[in-house]
């Protein structure tokens, strides 16, 4: 089955890595009772031996060992909302996972800044600071807001595109696929909050 092949690929990709959780555990003669983590091979990148460098064109290259380097890598968050600084997947341009940064803050400060810039570019969701108006017509909500990226007008279809990520954090998805974030609705001014209220 195709799934088998996918598994094979993953195993291939992991060859030659030095920080394999699975094999490490096996080498230490882990107890017979294997956990889920033991039997998967996910490569967590080592904060010390992994080096990032900014390329001329504004991307980032990675060196993960003496003879393992990638001219350009992409970064993807595994948990964009709940753990934005952890479990960052590092991928080749083709989209193959090289490894995962378990905790970005453990890396060198230049690396943190570099990766941060790439992530900022990838995940763009301006913060809404004020809601000037919301007009509703036939299930479409026309927002006019002030945001960290400037004033903007956008159209949100239906109430289900106003997503509550937590009790106080809200994400607005417009019809084009743009995202706008309200990190804490209680920090909005009263009028803005009132306008938003019907969606919450």
């Amino acid at each position: 089955m195709a799934d088998t092949v996918t598994g094979g690929e993953a195993a291939e990709a992991a060859v030659g890595s030095e920080a394999e959780v699975g094999s490490e555990a096996a080498a230490k003669g882990a107890p017979a009772k294997e956990t889920l983590v033991d039997i998967t091979t996910i490569r967590y990148l080592d904060p010390v031996s992994t080096a990032f460098k900014e390329t001329e064109g504004g991307f980032v290259s990675m060196e993960a060992g003496p003879d393992e380097s990638y001219p350009r890598v992409n970064f993807q968050r595994s948990f964009p909302f709940s753990r934005s600084g952890e479990f960052i997947s590092v991928r080749t341009v083709e989209g193959k996972e090289i490894g995962i940064i378990k905790k970005l803050s453990l890396f060198a400060s230049e690396a943190v800044a570099m990766v941060g810039r790439q992530l900022d570019r990838r995940y763009f969701s301006p913060t809404v600071t004020k809601i000037n108006s919301i007009k509703e017509e036939f299930g479409y909500n026309y927002f006019d807001v002030e945001s960290s990226a400037g004033q903007c007008r956008f159209t949100v279809r239906g109430g289900h595109n106003v997503v509550s990520i937590t009790e106080t954090r809200v994400l607005l998805l417009d019809v084009d696929g743009n995202r706008f974030e309200i990190p804490d609705i209680n920090k909005l001014d009263d009028r803005s909050l009132k306008r938003l209220e019907m969606f919450l």
Partner: protein, 737 residues
Amino acid sequence: MKLLYDLPESAMESVSGVLNGESIRYCVPADLDEDNVFITDWIALTETRIITVKGGAFREEIAVADGADYKNVTLVGNGILEGEVNGVPRVIARYSMRHVPRYAYIANILNVMSKGRRPMTKSADDEGVCPKCERRMAEGTLICPYCTSKFTVLKKLKDVLSKHIPLLLLAVGMFWVITGISLISPYITRLFINEVLNPIEPGMTTIFGLERGVTAVMAFVSIMALLSVSSSAIVIVRGRIMTLVGNRIANDLRNVVYEKIQALTLNDMTKRKAGDMMNRVTRDTQRIRDFISHQASQGINMLITLIGICVILFATNWRLALLIIVPIPLVGLVIKNFREKMWIIFHKQWHVYDDASNVLNDILTGIRVVKAFGQEEKEIGRFRKASEDFRDISMSNEKFFNTLFPILNFFVGCSQFLILYFGGRMVLGLEMNVGELIQVMEYASMLYAPLGFMTMLPRAIANAMNALGRIYEIMEVEPDIRNADESVTMDIKGKVGFTNVTFGYQSHEPVIEEMDVDVAEGEMIGLVGHSGAGKTTFINLIMRLYDIDDGSISIDSVDLREIDMNVLRSQIGVVLQESFLFSGTVYQNIVYSKRDATPEEVIAAAKIANAHDFILGFPDGYDTRVGENGHNISGGERQRIAIARAILHNPRILILDEATASLDIEAEQQIQEALGRLTKGRTTFAIAHRLSTLRNANRIMVIDKGRKAEMGTHDELLNMKGIYYKLVMAQRQVTRT
């Protein structure tokens, strides 16, 4: 897609210096900078160069030929145009999601240019943007909700309403009669007091030809009673009529929406939540029915009464009439101030209600999963929370209204005291007699009800309008796929051709790319590939569930888009991984594809599908009820019924999408046999993960990342030692262990 914007004048000036005789062929906004701020920059393409405009002035030029591999990369909430310029990959522009499809075209154009060819793509009007207000509209809608007035919606529903004009007229006539009666009775009261009880001229012994005294009293009382009885009777009849009309209209609407939903394609459907659709069919039409049969009819009644009273009051005593009118603007003011609040309150209630019903829908449709993981408690908790939210919101809303309306009523009631005071003084000053005062008082109190009602009306109207809007929205959705103006009706033989086909569910992300395939009549093609490779998409395109973005698909050398859709689909048979059985009998499920089939044909089809024997095993045989609430049948049995359905359908082209994937080996073998009979002589596309399923295939096509990676006979592909070879080896390994 608009690919040629006009540069602002100042930017144009700055750019014209570097044009060197070239012209701007494409020009698109780049509205996002590296610091995540919206800007108004531009990217312009001339015959040979990319020119970037930043901060309103020329910034940089890149020779297109110096670069390669241009692409639009869709990130999260934004996109970038990148390219390898002089061998270095770099970002050329950054933009919000709105422009992503635009840049997909631009990237294509750049790649064509970099190969020295001349791009043919033309700029056109943007789709999905209102030409009037430039707001984005969601896919599938043709009318901008922002610019559409509610009046247009009503006009749109004219057809539905016009069928019921006679009944509506009858009802309106009755309104007038009822109002007339109720307006006349205070006048009769006045006559009764002034003429019958309180003789102004003692010499008069008769009134209207009646003897004064008890007889006259009797006569007046009977007239009043008669009027009251007949008005009550008419009210009852009118109520019935309005309910009837309301029901009929709601029913018509329901049918319209239902038909529309049927006409929409899968693509349209997946964009909307099923629960949401159901709500529109049931709840919204119900709301409209209630509105017509209660609020609207009451409203008309009240309005007529209101006007009538005002006219009479001014005719009787304009000074007192003014007193009565005074509080009305006050009430209007209050209503106006609370309108926004009321509106929000309703939306909130509506959203919360939607939530609760969605949760319920989730739980019910996923009940097996819920039970399998022992999550009943949690799910019940989830639903309880949702319905408690709904209860809380409803309660607080009721509280709000129950405070607001008494206050409004008090304002209206104030005028009563004023009338008593000033009217009383007029009577004492002999400017007015008692009968007149009582008449005025009575009219004034009759104002009460309509005014009180009018204060409620905005909320009723808002409610109905919302419901109407939601229905209207469905009515306005244009199906993605339409028949060509002159569609061809033909008997399909089964030759299928793909030429350079590219398709993406979102047009900027191709799922099928540059696919060239030729399939001969009667050939069986096995489709193989990883999950997500695009196999299902490929066959969706043959069924024309979606229209392709580029290239062409033909059947018997006729372009798919020219073939009448019903003709096409009636000659394609499909068996999917999980076959859907409608609630109904086994028999009904099999004849679904051919309504006029004889029982002999049905049995023959079932026999070929290896279904006949197990069907007879059911106590109720072919009359066994299946589907929802029906007899529980196994997955294999379900598949075989679906195959029987397809066999009876006798399609020229057969599509099997993992038809046997979910079955055990034995069931699969039986079905394989059935399928072998079914596929004989028909063009067949079979998707299978278990490669052994495809041993009857004439040729195998391997799809990888949306492209045709390999195609040939089993042996040819094995010899190629490519993807197919790897797949076969991997499966052999699995079977061995």
